[in-house]
Symmetry: C2
Subunit: 202 residues, 2 copies
């Protein structure tokens, strides 16, 4: 199945600015992207990066400057069956991608924490995305309106987009790709001192 991985190359991961410099955020975003692409490859599928600008690397990239929903909808229009997996799902492994892609349904939604849509499978040509706002709720509604069979892919690994400092805890605890090692190399470790687990940087 074609798996599209949208990537915002311009100003990635601004909510990590407390703990990472701009250059580090840019590098970290690319390491996470590579983990996601590797997971898709390992699951036997072909990832395609959908980026707002060229990434200056050997990664195959489709460049589309439009807002996320429009750019994704243009890809959906070209294929009968497409998965959309966000580039910061650094906990996802091949088994996670396999479960997503293996979930039946015209529209499969893997909700993210806080109402997002972290991964989607679309098998109905009438479905269009709308990532603005509480998108998992909106995507359920859009799917119902077109009479699509909507299913959920219930995954902690897909629900956890790495977006803010608290999410780094999850990556250090559960990451199986390069991103967790990248963090450790830069001095990040778990801080379980006061009962609630956090991260600290040495």
């Amino acid at each position: 199945m074609r798996v599209v991985v949208p990537f915002d190359a311009a100003a990635p991961k601004t909510r990590l600015s407390e703990v990472l410099s701009p250059d580090e955020r840019s590098a970290f975003a690319r390491v996470m992207l590579d983990d996601v692409l590797q997971a898709v490859w390992n699951a036997g599928h072909t990832p395609e990066v959908l980026a707002t600008e060229p990434l200056g690397s050997s990664r195959p990239v489709r460049v589309d400057e439009r807002p996320l929903s429009e750019a994704v909808n243009a890809v959906l229009a070209e294929h009968d069956e497409t998965a959309v997996v966000m580039a910061d799902l650094a906990l996802a492994g091949a088994d996670t991608v396999e479960r997503l892609v293996g979930t039946p349904g015209d529209v499969v939604i893997a909700p993210g924490r806080g109402g997002g849509t972290n991964a989607l499978v679309v098998r109905d040509p009438a479905f269009e995305t709308d990532y603005h706002g509480v998108s998992c709720r909106d995507h359920r509604r859009i799917a119902r309106e077109i009479g699509a069979d909507v299913r959920e892919c219930d995954s902690f690994r897909l629900a956890t987009d790495i977006d803010e400092p608290a999410d780094l805890v999850e990556l250090l605890l559960h990451g199986r790709g390069e991103s967790a090692g990248w963090l450790r190399e830069r001095g990040f470790e778990l801080d379980a001192g006061d009962g609630r687990v956090g991260v600290e940087r040495s």
Copy 2:
């Protein structure tokens, strides 16, 4: 399979004190407990509440005043196969419980956000729990030390214990039991005003 549901009856849900009164927190904790018990029943299993004191209701309760890990270990010692599901996993439905219980392995861990162990299946008599600290990491280590085959149950619904105000967002968005309705009846609704979704109480 026997499914144990530990419940702290004394001072439940203190981290919700910003948004719920003590009486409300106590009632809310019991509504969530009932949702979890219903999910276990609907999955075809028999729940047993493991509480620190009697609940004063018709629910079957095993009372054990010891700390959580000791009380759970006493139950594990009595059975070849036991699941342990926390009482605040109000997003769990029958399908969630079925997937947990259906995951093979001597020890199956469903991690919670922040390093917890929100649900467990134990099929090795040598395994003992230690819920203090970063328990999902400790449980993996304990299982490895006894040579047990450790598996993960990757579930957003099991990872989401309803503990603090931000978690109420998830319950309002994804809850399928009574707990979400209980919140709505008390004026809670999603607040998606400023881009990041939260809850507000009218």
